[in-house]
């Protein structure tokens, strides 16, 4: 067992976990944050995406022990006191949400992209989301949503 302290959604959090526990499991089972989804558990689908120090990573391939001292952001952490993040709102407005299973991962991947580059090209958006599978939308409205959010953030 190991005690891990990290910043979760802006709050200092400590958990005692087995050394071999994956971050995905800790978030869902111990911390009750089920927005991060298990899709394939081998790093191919992106449904388990979280932000680690602002970068999108796959929580199914990350030991909880390995996030000691780092900042972890889950989908539950990006709205501010009930106001949706512009990317979340954009996904709703542009019709980018169908079954919703890929949505948390997609939104976080989009956030990591836009935080790094405020006005990405469509090609850069596609690339930034290439780790997140979606079977429902064909990606078109997702890319439109990210583009719209980028324009919203910069007046």
């Amino acid at each position: 067992m190991i005690s891990v302290t990290f910043i979760l959604n802006g709050h200092k959090t400590s958990v005692d976990v087995p050394d071999h526990e994956l971050l995905l499991e800790t978030l869902r089972e111990r911390l009750g944050l089920c927005g991060t989804k298990p899709g394939c558990l081998e790093g191919e689908c992106g449904a388990c995406t979280v932000l680690l120090d602002g970068k999108n990573i796959l929580s199914c391939l990350k030991l909880t022990a390995d996030v000691e001292g780092a900042a972890v952001t889950t989908i539950e952490g990006i709205a501010e006191k009930g106001t949706l993040h512009p990317i979340q709102q954009s996904f709703i407005d542009e019709g980018a949400v169908q079954c919703g299973y890929c949505t948390p991962g997609m939104v976080l991947a989009a956030k990591a992209l836009l935080d790094e580059k405020a006005r990405p090209t469509d090609e850069e958006i596609q690339r930034g989301l290439d780790g997140n599978l979606c079977r429902c939308t064909g990606y078109i409205k997702i890319i439109e949503a990210v583009r719209a959010a980028a324009h919203k953030k910069e007046p």
Partner: protein, 289 residues
Amino acid sequence: MPDLCPFTYHAPLSLKEALALLKRPQSCLLAGGTILLNTLKKTKKGPDDVVSLRRIGALGTVKETKTKLTLGAMVPIADLERLPVVAETFPSLAAACRQMATTPLRRMATIGGNIASRFFWADLPPVLMSLQARLILETPAGRKEMSVDTFVSRKTQDPFIIATIELLKYRRAAFYLRHTRTMPVDIPEMAVAFSAEEKDGCLTDVHFVLSPGVAAPMRLKKTEKVLEGRKPEGIRQAQIGAALTEDTAGLRLDDHKRTCLENDAHEIIARLRSSSAGMSSGKAGNGAP
């Protein structure tokens, strides 16, 4: 969710500490986790000790001088791709990084992890070989330096940690061409990494590295000899074809791979012809964006 096989996790603060832990018989290193954790998911009995390198600051640094670039082994692939010096001076390395896997995996995976995996399909070893990169390894017996070529061809028994990767800043024409069976995001089934200097319009110090997917990456010596000292305009495809066949005789490549390899050689010559010395950028060899 299934549990990983249990182990004890360590996060040492220094290379010395890490090496001491590696002395334990059933121990292994954890870099980015993209390879190790997937492997452990498929194992019933894994290592007893997992040694994470994330807290060893020296492994995450990048040092640049006028002549040399030194990369810490724990630098993520995504960060490597974005370094201005890589885009400018090592475009084939940037190309390799850009084409590997997917965005989140590139953010997690590390240069050292990619090299140390010894996977035949790893993207960085052939590119680094073509760029004459050198590895600095830390071992219990002290620091060891070796070329990437030596590293891929020799399996070391003793524990080691790749600490840094050194690249000399030559002005070289360099390309990385990568082939996948179905989609660009796949692991490559074959790759070609090329570099050469140009003196008075002629190719010198040619490095033609093939990663055949079925064996460790290797330099194609006969092909290099055909190209050495020649002007790109004067090189005939048939000559290269014969050399490629000789160089790959022992590999038993299928027809498709053979065709890809010939196309790659063709593509490289075409690019050399059309670009001025040292200013080419490495692009994908299989039509991927």
